[in-house]
Structures are given as structure tokens and as C-alpha cells.
Symmetry: C2
Subunit: 347 residues, 2 copies
């Protein structure tokens, strides 16, 4: 991958954004912390914020099972303050949150399967670390605007579609239980200590810089990796319906949530047009020419599978004007274009 020159990077990054996205000029000169900022969504967000002229701090534990990679900041690494530590390192967290106007709280463990095989680590990442962070924020930067990245996993098996924010919360795996506790921490700290929190419930996010080494972050990562290596990939089931948001759209939602006063104390679904997994796999096959095979869903995974899911995202559209702007097919194309350039950095 060719690097753009440092001088032109901010302008380039701005130009690369689509029309009708959040006005990022609000972040010029502001101090921003991104937890999990070396990860997939965090690093894409960091790029946008650097482009906007923000002073970006990134905090990441770089766990081997997580999505973090120093390469994700390649090209802007000298414009970002990076702390590699865990959120129990109070001194490090206090330094990171001191003086920030915004906290994008994206740190967490996201593998559903790992949450079942190692529930204590999931608890550590999604609950204990979150408590530690919120305690530091309330003592150090109580006025910061916090956006917490939650997940549609907390809904469990949908009892209706599309799933809106009032849908019952009946998580089917440890990850869902712990991420819901994480949401509740934010709500509690908002109510009791007056913190300014907004919660986004993300669905399947894809795009450049996602983990593709395995299926820990998303099955789509592994599918893309295998197809770029010209190895057929496996689709389990295939008829399940899901919605896929492109990472730039998620970044746009994060920025809107942080800058809108109406978003305070609100919970928002992100979502996009629904596709079957088979259709989504076909987008990858169309882009790479690599075939996929449909297999039966393994029994041990089925028990924590949520079946069909897609979100009702009318609330964020109405409150914040957010819409998904990149289709799943286009998202696949852009993602594959990225990994064609730097596959070896991610496998």
C-alpha cells in the first residue's frame, strides 16, 4: 500500500468522506479518547477525527484475541497518542481521560464463542474494565461526552423483525449478558453521577481494518480472508438474515451521537438492509471469484445463535439524521479492495 504524504493526509481523509455525513468540524481542536482505538472501528474513527483536526488519544490492550493492531493506525501513527495498556491501569486511564471532551468507548471483547469458552475473560473485558473506565471518567472528566458501542447481541433471539430498541433483552450468550451489563453501567453512571452517555447498538460491521485472521470479530472477516487466499469459505446455514453496516457509516453514527445534544441518555440501533448469509457470501464470491460451501450449522454453535436479525434504525434516523449510506455489496467491495493491498498485515 502506498502512503499518502503526511501534509495532505488530513485533507485527503476529509475528501474521502461522503456527502451528508456528520459535520466533523465540531472536533477541530478537541481532545478525544478512543478506547479500543487500535481495533477495527476505533482505528477508522481515529482516522476521521485526525482528519477533522482533533487531538486523538487511543487506548488499547492489544489482546491477541481482539481486533487491535498497530498497523491499523499506519500513516497517522505520529498524529495519534497511543497507550497500550488495560483499563485497570488507573494511572494510564486517568492520563488518557484527563481533559478530553469526548470518549468513544469501543473497548471490549466481541467473540460470542470465546465468551462461552472463556466467560471470565469476557467478564473482565466487558464488565470489570468498563467499571474501571467509568470510575476514572466520573472522577477525572465528568463532563466528557461518552458514546458506548454496544451490540445487537443483547436482544437475543428476535421475537419480531425488524428489532427496535424496545425489543426485550434476552441475550443468549455470555457476551450478550456482559455487554448488557456494560450498557447498564453507562445508564447508571449517567443517572447517579450525571455523566453524558449515549449508547449505540451495533450490528455486523464490516470494512477495512477488521480482524480477518479468524471469525472472532465477525464471520465475514474469515470469509474475506479465505477468499482472498483463494480458499473456498464455509457458510453455516446460509438462510439466516442479517444486516451489515459499513464501518464508515458506523463512524458517522458515533460522531453524530457525540455531537448531538438530543442523543444524551439515548440508545440507538444501527442497521442496514437485510440479506441472507448466502446472499452476502455471494457478494464476496462475485468480488473475488472464490467459491463458498454451505454447511449445516454446528449443533454446539446453534444454541447461542440468534437466528434471523435485522434492526429497526428509525430512532437514530429521526433523532440524528443517520442513515446507512453504503450497501452491503459495496461494503464488501471496498473491504476486499483494502485487503488486496495489505493482506499480509492481517493474517
Amino acid at each position: 500500500m502506498e502512503l499518502r504524504e503526511r501534509e495532505s493526509r488530513r485533507d485527503d481523509a476529509t475528501a474521502a468522506r461522503q456527502p451528508n455525513v456528520c459535520d466533523i468540524s465540531a472536533f477541530r481542536g478537541t481532545h478525544v479518547l478512543i478506547t479500543g482505538g487500535l481495533g477495527f472501528i476505533g482505528s477508522n474513527l481515529a482516522r476521521t477525527l485526525v482528519a477533522a483536526g482533533g487531538h486523538v488519544r487511543v487506548f488499547d490492550s492489544l489482546l491477541s484475541t481482539g481486533g487491535g493492531s498497530l498497523f491499523n493506525l499506519f500513516g497517522i501513527d505520529d498524529l495519534v497518542e497511543v497507550t497500550v495498556s488495560n483499563l485497570h491501569d488507573i494511572d494510564a486511564v486517568v492520563n488518557a481521560v484527563e481533559g478530553v471532551q469526548y470518549v468513544f468507548n469501543l473497548a471490549g471483547q466481541s467473540s460470542h464463542w470465546d465468551s462461552m469458552t472463556d466467560p471470565q475473560s469476557d467478564l473482565e473485558a466487558n464488565c470489570s474494565s468498563q467499571l474501571s473506565l467509568l470510575e476514572c471518567i466520573r472522577h477525572t472528566s465528568p463532563l466528557a461526552r461518552i458514546v458506548f458501542a454496544s451490540t445487537r447481541q443483547i436482544y437475543g433471539v428476535p421475537c419480531y423483525l425488524p428489532v427496535d430498541e424496545n425489543h426485550p433483552l434476552r441475550p443468549v450468550d455470555m457476551n450478550g449478558i456482559h455487554k448488557h451489563a456494560g450498557e447498564r453501567y453507562h445508564e447508571l453512571y449517567a443517572r447517579v453521577y450525571g455523566l453524558h452517555c449515549t449508547i449505540l447498538r451495533l450490528t455486523n460491521t464490516i470494512g477495512p481494518r477488521m480482524r480477518i485472521k479468524d471469525a472472532r470479530q465477525t464471520f465475514a472477516g474469515l470469509w474475506i480472508r479465505r477468499s482472498l487466499e483463494s480458499r473456498p469459505f464455509e457458510v453455516w446455514g446460509g438462510d439466516q438474515i442479517r444486516d451489515f453496516t459499513f464501518v464508515d457509516d458506523v463512524v458517522d453514527a458515533l460522531l453524530r451521537a457525540a455531537t448531538s445534544s438530543i442523543a444524551r441518555g439515548r440508545i440507538y440501533n444501527l442497521g442496514s438492509e437485510p440479506h441472507s448469509l448466502r446472499s452476502f457470501a455471494q457478494f464476496i464470491q462475485d468480488a473475488t471469484g472464490c467459491e463458498y460451501h454451505v454447511k449445516a450449522f454446528p449443533e454446539d454453535r446453534k444454541v447461542i445463535d440468534i437466528g434471523d436479525y435485522y434492526a429497526d434504525y428509525r430512532r437514530i434516523r429521526e433523532d440524528l439524521g443517520w442513515l446507512p449510506r453504503v450497501s452491503a455489496r459495496e461494503a464488501v467491495g471496498r473491504t476486499i479492495a483494502y485487503y488486496r493491498e495489505c493482506l499480509e498485515k492481517y493474517v
Copy 2:
């Protein structure tokens, strides 16, 4: 306090039970684990199970902030196998659960206030330790019948009264968040690993062997202590409605839940007749002659107070035939009678 002779203890304890309680003969010769078994409810349960001829193991961390006390087993201590450790001590837990037919899972942190001032310890006690226990049970004694002691705290501020089991779960403090996660762990381990779990949501429990040193376990404990020391006690607010169950009734519910096949996978409220805190305080004053003073509810506590609460306990009445048999006034009387004999062991 005079001790009954060892030989007659089992019979005495049986005779002391009221009519129409659970048939405890089912426990004769069975192996039973009680986590938190040196605590208030656990030690009362242990007494009943010993009286029934059960082989009782007790596991307790004896945290200084908890309800555990070796004195709680006074008189039956040579009939009970006691392990003082924490639930992360895998070897100790495996030993404790090996070969048991029943697990009464009462271990936990119950102070709402402590859960706010030290959320990590609450997380440790009510989530991390629970995960550790459930992992051991599923690997070592997957057929054991588990009864988990949850709390009405997970409902939060009631949106209707009486509160039934379908009431929304919107906990207002860390304790409620973590105890709800604990319930979900049990449900998840039941669904995914086939464990046999029943959940009881307890309300204010009072009786002999409760913590009276302070208000950590229940405000009623501190009220009773102060009145027995002839010091007026403080009632905050006073108009809040609560229901109070006597510990023998809670023990009865635990035993019914463990022995009924219909209880598998079910969640049950316990409850009793509602009283204002002022009325309840009056019961104590009537019994001890010691006055109470009504004070305004402190602002910092109000934010995690749930207001009026009393439970709808029709489900457990219909499924298991359980009813609260001891009135709040009588419960106060019996509790005070106990502490008159051995106050110095608890303060």
C-alpha cells in the same frame, strides 16, 4: 444461650418447624452444598437440612463485609463440613460440589450501598464467583439441582404493585445489575449445558443470624441491634412500603424449589404482606420499647432507592404451594428473642 444436647438436635429442629412446610424427608441421606452457608439464610438452611438427615457442606468466603459467621453454625458445627474459601479456589469448589445432589447457591454480596462505593467487589462476588461456581458444577456435578438466591433489587423502581415475575427488570444500582447477570448465568447454563436451576427472587428477609452489625445486609438488622442496645434507631423516610419474609419461610421456599420437578427452569418471587417502614419500625419498638426517629431520606441514597415494593408471589404459591407463614410482627419478635440471647456474638 443454652445449647440443646447433640442427640436431640435433629428431632428438635424438625419439631420446631411449622406444619404445612416442605416435606424435608427428601433430604435424608443426600449430599447438599450451601454456598454462603455461614451467612444468614444459609446457616438457617443448614440447620434444617441437618435436622432432615442431610449431609451438609457449607462453602463461605467469610468476607468481613458479608453475613458469614462461624457462630451461625453453633451447635451443629460438628455435623456440617465447612470450607472457608472463595469460589475461585477451583480445587476447593470441585471438592465441595463433587457428589452433591443439591446446591443452594446463596453466596453473594447484598449491600446496595457497598455495590456503589465498591462496584468491582460486587462484580467479583455476584458475577465472577458465580461463573466460577457454575463452571465447576457443569463439569463435576451436572445433575445437581441448583437453587439460586436472587433479589427483588433487579426489578428497580416498580412500575406497578404488587410486582410479579414479568415486571420489567431495570435495576437502579450495581447490585441489581450484577445479581441480574447472575440469574442470566443460571439460565444460560441451564439452556446450554442442561443444568437444573431454579431462581428465587428474595425480598427483605429477617430472622435469627442475620447481620445486625450494620445495615449492609438489611436496614432491619441495624434497627434491631440499636434497639437491643437501647439506642434509638433512624428510619429514613418511613412511608416506603416493603414486604418482609421470615427466614424460616425463605428456607421453606428454597427446599420446595429444590425438590419440585415443576420448579426446574422457573423463576419465583417470594413475598409477604406489605408494611410501611414506619409500621415495621413500630413492631420493633413494641417488642423492645426502644424508640425510633424518622428522618429525611438522604439524597445520595435516594438515587438508588426503589421506593415502594411488594411482591406478587402467586406463582410460587400455585406451583409449589409456598406461602409466607410468619407475619412481619411475629418475625420481629422471634428475631429479637434470638438476639437477646446472643447479641454479643453479632456486634
